[in-house]
Symmetry: C7
Amino acid sequence: MKLKPLYDRVVVKKVEVEQKTAGGIILPDTAKEESQIGEVIAVGEGKVLENGDVRALKVKVGDKVLFSKYAGNEVEIDGEKLLVIREEDILAIVEE
Amino acid sequence: MKLKPLYDRVVVKKVEVEQKTAGGIILPDTAKEESQIGEVIAVGEGKVLENGDVRALKVKVGDKVLFSKYAGNEVEIDGEKLLVIREEDILAIVEE
Amino acid sequence: MKLKPLYDRVVVKKVEVEQKTAGGIILPDTAKEESQIGEVIAVGEGKVLENGDVRALKVKVGDKVLFSKYAGNEVEIDGEKLLVIREEDILAIVEE
Amino acid sequence: MKLKPLYDRVVVKKVEVEQKTAGGIILPDTAKEESQIGEVIAVGEGKVLENGDVRALKVKVGDKVLFSKYAGNEVEIDGEKLLVIREEDILAIVEE
Amino acid sequence: MKLKPLYDRVVVKKVEVEQKTAGGIILPDTAKEESQIGEVIAVGEGKVLENGDVRALKVKVGDKVLFSKYAGNEVEIDGEKLLVIREEDILAIVEE
Amino acid sequence: MKLKPLYDRVVVKKVEVEQKTAGGIILPDTAKEESQIGEVIAVGEGKVLENGDVRALKVKVGDKVLFSKYAGNEVEIDGEKLLVIREEDILAIVEE
Amino acid sequence: MKLKPLYDRVVVKKVEVEQKTAGGIILPDTAKEESQIGEVIAVGEGKVLENGDVRALKVKVGDKVLFSKYAGNEVEIDGEKLLVIREEDILAIVEE
């Protein structure tokens, strides 16, 4: 069973981040909007612009991405927690 | 009796998902916006763009789709629970 | 006395739906936004697009339509309950 | 003293509607947004579109119109209750 | 000391209206949004459209105008109560 | 240390206005949105329009301006209270 | 581990500002929206305009910037508190 996201949506598999590992990413628990890490496992064909053109997404399958903790819709497939989010809710690509 | 959705609307028949079947989709009960599975049974002719052009929808009759639990308007025809939603509220096509 | 709706507005006469008739439409009483059935008795000349063009409406006089229970403005003429709604609040045309 | 409405605004003189006259319009007291009848006594030169063009209004002085009960700004001139509303808040022209 | 409003803004000097003078304008105290009379004492150079063009305002210095009671920002210069409002909050020009 | 505002933003140094000086500006304490006086000390390069063009700002360094009391972000540099606001929140230029 | 922001987003490293240092920037604790200082450590490729063109950002890596205290999403990498914000939430570049 597989999800094929529509348009500018992206399917992300959440990555469990160990708290406070050296050199890792720590997602703080503050008043600011928090963020979350995940791996892109499927991308839509692109965002439809107002003139009807389609603009391909920038994120690719395999990218590790940072996104707002409150973005997207959750679903669980084959025991994996997945998230379907719009690309505009992705803040950054995380590079090693 | 049949529904013919207008423009970018889609008629979806809800699929009852068994909780926690192996390899199935589990719709979690968390703080995130939940999602739901259904089968497309009718589609509108397309979304009217700002310049007046009509853009055909991407989902087709027979597609299994994932959509936000809070999207759309409910109606029941011949004992079937149907939902009329906009295509932009469909998150992904579910492939076997 | 007759109503001639402006632009993309449509006048709809509410159809009383018997609850749970075989093969009929049942409008459920759930948390989702409910819908309602009516017959179109007058349509406006069309929606004015941003560039000033007018786009004719898709619904026609005589169509039976499904629309959100919370859409539109009510008025009663000659004992008939009428509703003036925008075409974009019509979800689908109901075909026999 | 006279009001000359600007752009897409219209001055309407409220018509007192007798409740439940045969063949008349009854404005119900329900949960839906209520509507009101009036006579157009002045119209603006037209709505300015996004490209700067002006589009003449469709309603004319003398038209009887139906509009949302909550639309517009009230003013009283020479003992007459007037309402200044945008044409887009006019639902329909009322014809005899 | 003088105010030179920017773009589509207009400086208006409030006119004290005697309540219920014969032939005058009465500003009612109802649930509808109330309106107010003033005299235009300065106008901006025009509204900037989305394409960057500037569209000159329609109201001129000396015009008596009707505007929503809740529009604009108040300031007092040399003992005069002034209001800086956008032209789109002006409902109508008041003619004798 | 100096602030160079971005795009359509403007840095303003608040001017303390003596209450009720003859010929001065009095900022009233009413229900209407109040306004404030300041001197422009830096301006951005211009507002980016939807088509990507940049439109230069109208206010210049040295202008005394009137702006809404609730607009902008405060900062204090070298003991001076500064405000960074968008040009569209400036109501008028104050001329002697 | 490095963040590569998408489109018009910018990664900023917060600068701890000593309160009330001579010649420094003081971020007041008032009713107005407060602001914050940071150093840009990564920028996206640019903002996608409505016509699909990409407009490069104005801020560059190394710039010290002033931004609204409530903008952006927080993340902590290798012990550094970072913020991912949109360029439009940056108020000004801070120059020495």
